[in-house]
Amino acid sequence: MNYYSEAFREAFNLIITLDRELLNVVATSLRLSTSSTIIASTIAVPMAVIIARKDFSAKKFFNVILNTLLSLPTVVVGIFVYSLISRRGILGEYQLLFSSTGIIMGQTILILPLITALVRNTIFSLDEKLYKTAKSLGATKKQQFKLLIMEARYGIIGAVIAGFGRVLGEIGISMMLGGNIRGVTRTMTTAMALETNKGRFSFALALGIILLILSFTINFLVYFLQEGEHYEQR
């Protein structure tokens, strides 16, 4: 028991004293997660609008695939991207394995279906009159798209934050594609696994506490944006 209370004390101490190594790992995690979230969102939002608004023959099939991909295990994405970027893969010549780019690729694939599905649901839930009204107000196609995004903005931001939360806490992709290289691909989750194995429990615990705080903040933000008080009036 004394061991654990000592570990907790040391973990808090690492956080309060802003331990350099600890901050480095947190910064790497945030950098990679932010990059993959930005890339995935840039692709997911227009894709969600198309799925929600356009009629095409493969729409039902597309929606089924999208819903299936929501529960995609991170290691499956890891293996898939590994087969692409490993030395014998079709992208092997670019030497992406055990690099930040490799992790970003994997994480982008992981959250692309999640953000797309959440944004699609937000757009589905919008009042159909919005589109007719936009047209009657004299909006061009581009302005209609902008109005749609503005109306769905809280749902979209919520979806992006949810995606960010998912990549921040994943370990499979970072471990398989990143290789846990200090200062480059060592994320909070891979560092926690490594440091626990090494017996440096307090360091892993400190990262766990930070991850927990970040997760809580993210979930609070999503709740506030999508279901918070006076949401309708914002």
Binding site: D127, K129, L130, K132, T133, K135, S136, L137, G138, A139, T140, K141, Q143, L147, M150, E151, R153, E232, Q233, R234
Partner: protein, 243 residues
Amino acid sequence: MNRGNKILKVENIDKNINNKQILQIRKYSVIKGKFNFIIGANGSGKTSLLNILSMIDNDYQGTIYYKGKIISKKERNCELRRRFSVIWQEPYLYRGNVYHNIALPLKLRGFNKKIIHKKVKNISQKIEIDDLLEQSVYTLSGGERQKVSIARALVTEPEILFVDEATTNLDEESINFFNSHFADLVTEEMTVVMVSHDRRQIKELADRIAYLKKGKILSSQAREEFDFSQLGAGICSSIEEIV
């Protein structure tokens, strides 16, 4: 173009939804500078016709003329639609405050902030909603929402104003406000196409009346010539009240 000319005309309009014919109109004209009423029972195709005339719906077969010129599908774009405005039965107001909503069509047309401010102030005073400008649209009553949508439609000074049963869901006070102020808000140059069941509106405003039944126009005449006896129960059946 003189008042009394046909500003909009449709010919041989066929509109189907799920293989069911919604509209079959051989000929219908909207007369410039007049209140053109479209009446008919629920499901007769009034709103579908209004959507086609306002060029919001392009999914139909037939020809539409604007000021005597055939308008192709490609030409039914936002540039042309910007000359029109629509007041819907159930208005959709965009997230934000009342000012944002009234200013929106002007912003879309690229007006500068100073002009937008002046126009919004002006129209909101006329419609008596200038005290609501900063209020969130989610706090408005049904009547206030419709007033905002009227202001939003009129702020661009449209050539043709389409009104789709604007008072159907309103309370008595809001209907009275609409009926007593609406004619004053419409300028001499404006053409109005109005779908309505309201007897008082037909009595006081209509210049021309088109009667739509099961997607077909049975008659389209000046109000004085219109035979109200052809209308079934429920659609302005009391002729004495109207004429």
